[in-house]
Symmetry: C2
Subunit: 355 residues, 2 copies
């Protein structure tokens, strides 16, 4: 149970980074860099050092925290820093942090001198259950998420519950939304298990199951030609709401809060355009709205949301394509949905919280 | 003879782009973009259109010509342009131009939405015999060449002698240096054939042989873990001289002129540190200095050249590594050379032209 195999590398669970020393040893790396943001450098780096017996054979590259800094300017800064350090192709980059760090660090590593090795140590629940698996790297351009990136696999991934101790409850819930999604799209039993358990106390076993589900899906379709798109359930509308909130709200939604909204809207679309029953829709709506705070999607934002959806990466030939539930635990993809249905789903979300 | 197979795609020779229509048809692309610089848009685009029976089903993305524009700012511009055009993952990018266009266009395409299809139509001799094969994409950072990039394969490559009609003699010679290199590292007979022929009249058969040699090498080692490094013969010093010239000279050296210098220096190193005989060194020196104009490597530039060599991508563990000739037609790699030998080789080059 303490490791999963994923496309040629391992995902380790609660090993206290024990295999890392050997990986570094065997890789004969010329330099090791740890990439972290200011917060993880403060909170997680001491734990990282402790786990590695005060290992200090690395240079720290620090960046500013936050999704708004997952941009090309920071990448340029990191590329130049690596160059200044004389980093060659045999260097190793260890990404220690949340999804921003693993996405951006993976992108920088996969393009520096046409690609150097990297290892991901996701330190938030969201990055452990989502960004950790599947080889996606990326940065945002003009607030459009992951508009530029690569498919590149890390040498290894380490998931350590220890790091979650420093994660605030709101951030834990952000990751929890992806876990709910994993149940909804692929495993009914897991969904009901999550619901029955206390969402304020997430077990390593539950994290393991989420990573396993995601791993099965991405292994079957690494390049997102088909099946992998089911992981986007809740994300077409969710990403649009997230981008909008990021650009307009004083206190923007977390990723998971936006995806929670997206899942309610897209469950509505699943009922209207696929085979999700009214009872299942109601089940999903009730549970998610119990866990996540209410948010008002302003009517005047609808047009802008539509613009964001148009640039969704799943789209083909100008059509906004959705991944929709057929039932709880089963998902389909490449579904066309009318503009008016999308608007209805946003109104449905707003109504549900007005109750 | 009119096509070569390379890692899952074809390199077509003088087909007047005949297979392109079918590739576009079969790919069911949502959009087709042609990426060109101002010069190729003026000189090559009309030929491109004519070959495709006035095909107009594409949008043109134009950039400024020149190596100094192979930078991240232009990439950002192109990514945003693609975004503005609503380009999705099913779009196709056709890179029409020299190495700057194919390198940068390939990088942009391989990272836009984590990768879209692209086709290369190299229009200079240099890009036909060099950039066209091997799946390297890249851009320069702070004048350091190809510091950021990916290994990504195009859907197809088209080499058309027709485009060379607009290439000035100096640019033809720039590409010819790579052809000489192909002979020197892998095919003695081909080297002597090139020498015997008129370098002002380069045949498609010769281009074909160069592409074939490069293709054999990169197919054996796509990720440049070993053998592929022989293609860097002449490039460790050559790139450094090129970077220096680009930053200091009013009329900078072309790539090939710099590589010609690099090949004389590294032939000297090959004689001193490998098995290249004195006669072979003299043969190479004489031939290259007959074809390429003299250049003075200033003594005060030696330190800066050394700095550029330190950031060469082939280096490992802080060592500048060279690819050296064992004889004409045979090359080895990962050779360490002393700092003083490097300086000697630069002085050897300067002396040779002082004669």
């Amino acid at each position: 149970m303490n490791k999963l195999e994923s496309a040629g590398h391992n995902i380790y669970f609660d090993t206290r980074l024990a295999p890392l020393a050997e990986i570094i040893e065997n890789g004969k790396y010329s330099n090791v860099f740890v990439f972290a943001d200011r917060n993880t450098a403060e909170l997680c780096l001491p734990v990282f050092r402790e786990m590695l017996d005060d290992f200090s054979g690395f240079d720290l590259i620090e960046t500013d925290p936050g999704e708004e800094n997952k941009n090309i300017d920071f990448c340029i800064g990191i590329w130049k820093t690596l160059l200044d350090f004389g980093a060659d192709r045999k260097c190793l980059v260890i990404n220690l942090g949340g999804g921003v760090i693993t996405d951006m660090g993976g992108f920088v590593a996969s393009t520096y001198k046409r690609g150097v090795d990297f290892i991901n140590i996701p330190t938030t629940l969201l990055s452990q259950v989502d960004a950790s698996v599947g080889g996606k790297t990326g940065i945002d351009i003009d607030n459009v998420k992951n508009m530029v990136g690569t498919f590149s696999l890390p040498q290894a991934v380490f998931i350590e519950a220890e790091f979650l101790k420093t994660v605030p409850q709101r951030e834990m819930l952000s990751g929890f939304a992806e876990m709910i999604k994993h149940g909804l799209i692929a495993d009914q039993e897991y969904y009901y298990q999550l619901k029955a358990a206390d969402y304020k106390n997430i077990t390593t076993a539950a994290i393991h199951r989420s990573v396993e589900i995601k791993n099965e899906v991405v292994t079957a379709d690494p390049q997102e030609k088909g099946l992998r798109k089911i992981l986007n359930f809740g994300h077409t509308i969710g990403h649009a709401v997230e981008s909008y909130s990021l650009s307009k709200d004083k206190k923007p939604l977390t990723h998971g809060e936006a995806i929670a909204i997206g899942m309610i809207c897209e469950a509505y679309l699943s009922h209207k355009n696929s085979t999700l029953t009214a009872e299942e829709l109601e089940e999903i709506r009730q549970y998610i709205s119990k866990v996540y705070p209410a948010y008002k999607i302003k009517e005047k934002s609808f047009a802008q949301l539509s613009v964001f959806m148009q640039s969704d990466k799943k789209n083909e030939h100008g059509n906004v394509l959705f991944s929709l539930l057929q039932s709880i635990g089963k998902c389909t993809y490449n579904c066309r949905v009318s503009e008016s249905d999308i608007v209805e789903s946003l109104e449905y979300y707003n109504l549900t919280y007005a109750k």
